[in-house]
């Protein structure tokens, strides 16, 4: 057993921390919450130059050939700094879907562009039914000669406003087995009939309603096979779930630091607040939630990286990290007190983001139910 990051991962972590502490300060995070784009082209280009967008793509597609575990290291730091923007949607939801399902031509065409920071891709998966099971996919794609025509509304689509391409998860066949008959379409975001409407979110995420109104997609733009899209979606969801866990762990680390800063500085009754056992026990619980979340995330990411069976670990990890990180930020608020309730204190950034992250790609109940299946219950 070896619980440690390797040397390169430690270097990546340090470099990412250094870069983000300069380029992604809390003030910038707040500005981007208000900014409709959610990112500046300057920062995005700098990230591309660091090789972040191509970190996990093979070298032949213009990437760096890093592992999923390397990506996790980066995501922890992004969570720590509350990095805004479309990294998650483009690299994880878009990039990983393309890696899993794209043919050689599409990979050549798009992955390099993503790595260079020139192409944005997102995944249009959830709908008004707001869930991550195949039963919830109702947006229809119907065959029309050499094209498919998509109709329906996708909701909570991240960064669709920036996207060059939207990967739409659509139903192409109705039947008893809901996992069957789902197809992934790579849709040019400028296609006629697409209407994108931004939603106002409490964590500052740029989510959108994307209406497909008789949108024509050539059948060559199917990713993977017709009707056989769900297993791909499931794989992407699993990787995305652990990626979210990594972000939450990074955010949790910052929340702990903010709590410790406050309780070691502030005095009440003539002593440091952090000397009270009630406060110490809150802090002990915070670090327990954090350490266990980190360990679970590392293990799941390691298993994904190694190509080991990981359905069980992924379900456990997303459930555990979702609940734990939410609780830990709430406890950090309790430790920090009234100051942390102020907009200008950074803790509130994490309080909002952690809750949003918990809901993405299946909340704790969803993953416990998935785990119950794995356990044969």
């Amino acid at each position: 057993m070896d619980y440690d990051l390797n040397e390169e991962q430690e270097l990546l972590k340090k470099a990412a921390k250094g870069f983000l502490s300069k380029e992604c300060k809390p003030l910038f995070v707040r500005e981007m919450e208000e900014n409709p784009q959610g990112i500046t082209p300057e920062l995005w280009q700098k990230m591309a130059e660091l090789g972040w967008m191509g970190l996990i793509f093979p070298e032949k597609y213009g990437g760096i050939g890093g592992s999923y575990l390397d990506l996790m290291v980066l995501l922890v730091e992004m969570g720590y700094s509350c990095l805004p923007g479309p990294f998650f949607s483009t690299v994880i939801l878009g990039g990983i879907t393309l890696m899993e399902a794209g043919n050689e031509e599409k990979k050549q065409e798009l992955l390099g562009g993503i790595a260079e920071g020139k192409i944005f891709v997102t995944l249009a998966l959830t709908e008004a039914t707001a869930g991550y099971s195949p039963e919830r996919i109702a947006v229809k794609a119907e065959k029309d000669a050499d094209d498919f025509v998509i109709n329906g509304t996708k909701l909570f689509v991240p960064d669709a406003h920036l996207a060059n391409y939207i990967i739409c998860v659509a139903r192409t066949k109705e039947g008893e087995n809901k996992k069957d008959g789902i197809t992934l379409f790579l849709v040019d975001a400028k296609s006629k009939g697409i209407v994108i409407t931004p939603l106002k979110t409490f964590a500052g995420d740029k989510l959108n309603e994307v209406v497909f109104n008789n949108v024509k997609v050539p059948k060559g733009n199917i990713l993977g096979e017709l009707d056989k899209g769900w297993p791909i979606v499931k794989k992407v969801l699993q990787k995305a779930a652990i990626a979210k866990c990594a972000e939450m762990v990074g955010g949790g680390q910052r929340a702990l630091e903010l709590a410790i800063e406050q309780v070691t500085e502030r005095e009440q009754f003539g002593v440091k607040v952090g000397s009270f056992q009630a406060v110490q026990h809150h802090c002990a619980n915070i670090v327990t939630y954090l350490d266990t979340s980190r360990l679970m995330t590392h293990q799941a990411a390691w298993r994904i990286s190694e190509g080991l069976p990981c359905e069980r670990e992924i379900a456990m990890t997303k459930a555990w990290v979702t609940d734990s990180c939410r609780s830990l930020v709430a406890l950090a608020h309790q430790a920090v007190g009234g100051t942390g309730f102020m907009e200008e204190h950074d803790l509130q950034l994490y309080f909002r983001r952690t809750k949003a992250a918990g809901v993405y790609f299946g909340d704790a109940d969803f993953h416990r139910e998935a785990l119950a299946d794995v356990m044969g219950l």
């Binding site: 057993m1 390797n6 440091k272 110490q280 026990h281 002990a284 356990m375």
Partner: protein, 387 residues
């Protein structure tokens, strides 16, 4: 990173399981359950001495003292297997006193005691707690007077489990009353058959026995002093850093049996395991058990790297013991009215195991440092919060 056992560790795990399967007897299993997983009773001695002959009781010790010189991960794995399969797994001599002697004892002391500990021939009883010294261990005042070639001991120990079946007392006593409390404590090994020792049973709500141990003019030879005089509190604390851990195996077994029970038990025409609420609860426990596993082997990983676990051992102990309580609490809820039926009763389920462990679990968060003391340690040592 790597979160799996090595090939060798996996092979060892298989070997240990095979051995336990072959050598376990119903008498040993019952004895261990009745005693509370401690070591020293006759049936336990039989199987443990056979295990010890393979080096499995003290696998990380050097070969010259009866160990195998293998990784701490392997050692932790063996303990987890022992707990899971109902063998004694609470060893004072092999897992607390022995490592302290190994680190701080004289060569003479090592030669005299370690091989007999490693072979399972000797078990010690922990001699820390006193009526006025629980969480505040430094308040202990069992008096040991220096009489030249021996110490003369007087005082009372409380909740000293194992004393009725162990051979020796691993005793913390006060050798200096004129210095700061923690600077006047010494560690000694005392033969529990020494004249002047009176052991009185205290029966717990778990049915286990613990003891009050009264010392009246008990003579202890000087050679039984561990390390240096008045350094005992330091040894004791150092030992806790190395040894504070809780293998969940025992409760993990209860959980596994509970899971099977819900699959096999039909209520309202369908298996209990199909009930959404039960699924949520069992999945949550399964997750917590996995979390515990990672915390547990983290300690071994730190030791294998040559480090000393710091707040992590407090975290593991607290998490594991609180998880144990959640396991049996859910177990009682799942069993409902049946949960209250004891082993041997008509209609008892799972041999009354759940209610039994429900009772035992309550002390897990109290002994070996309460959850509150552990959280103090996590905060003060791990997070450097002010005292």
């Amino acid at each position: 990173m790597d979160f799996e056992f090595t090939k060798e560790e996996k092979a060892l795990q298989e070997e240990v399981r095979e051995f336990i399967k072959k050598e376990s007897t119903p008498e040993m299993l019952k004895e261990t359950e009745d005693m509370g997983d401690i070591y020293g009773a006759p049936e336990g001695r039989k199987i443990i001495q056979k295990m010890a002959a393979k080096g499995w009781l003290t696998p990380t010790w050097p070969k010259e003292y009866g160990g195998l010189g293998v990784s701490d991960v392997a050692s932790y794995m063996i303990r987890e297997e022992m707990g899971y399969h109902g063998l004694p797994f609470g060893f004072v001599a092999a897992h607390m006193a022995g490592p302290t002697i190994l680190r701080f004892g004289s060569d003479e002391m090592k030669k005299k005691w370690l091989p007999r500990i490693a072979s399972g021939e000797l078990e010690f009883a922990l001699g820390y707690t006193e009526p006025q010294a629980g969480s505040d261990l430094s308040a202990l005042n069992l008096r040991a007077e220096d009489k030249g070639d021996y110490f003369l001991l007087n005082g009372t120990k409380l909740f000293n489990t194992s004393c009725h079946i162990a051979d020796c007392h691993w005793l913390a006593c006060r050798t200096d009353f004129d210095v700061a409390k923690h600077k006047g404590v010494s560690m000694m090994i005392v033969d529990l058959k020494s004249p002047g020792i009176t052991i009185s049973p205290l029966i717990t709500m778990a049915g286990w026995q613990t003891n009050e141990v009264v010392y009246e003019d008990v003579r202890v030879p000087k050679e039984n002093l561990v390390g240096e005089k008045n350094k005992g509190f330091y040894y004791l604390m150092a030992a806790l850093d190395f040894e504070r851990m809780f293998p969940l195996g025992r409760y993990r077994r209860v959980f596994d049996e509970l899971v099977e029970y819900t699959k096999e038990t039909i209520v309202d025409g369908k298996a209990m395991s199909k009930d959404p609420l039960i699924r949520q609860k069992l999945a949550q426990l399964s997750t917590e058990i996995e979390v515990t596993r990672l915390l547990y082997y983290q300690l071994a990983h730190i030791l294998d790297k040559g480090g000393i676990p710091n707040y992590q051992s407090s975290m593991e102990k607290t998490f594991a013991t609180e998880c144990a309580q959640r396991i049996v609490n859910v177990g009682m809820d799942v069993l409902g009215l049946y949960g209250q039926l004891k082993e041997g009763s008509k209609w008892a389920q799972l041999k009354g195991k759940v209610e039994k462990f429900y009772r035992t679990s309550i002390v897990e968060t109290i002994y070996a440092g309460t959850s509150e003391i552990q959280r103090n340690i996590i905060a003060q040592r791990g997070l450097k919060l002010p005292r």
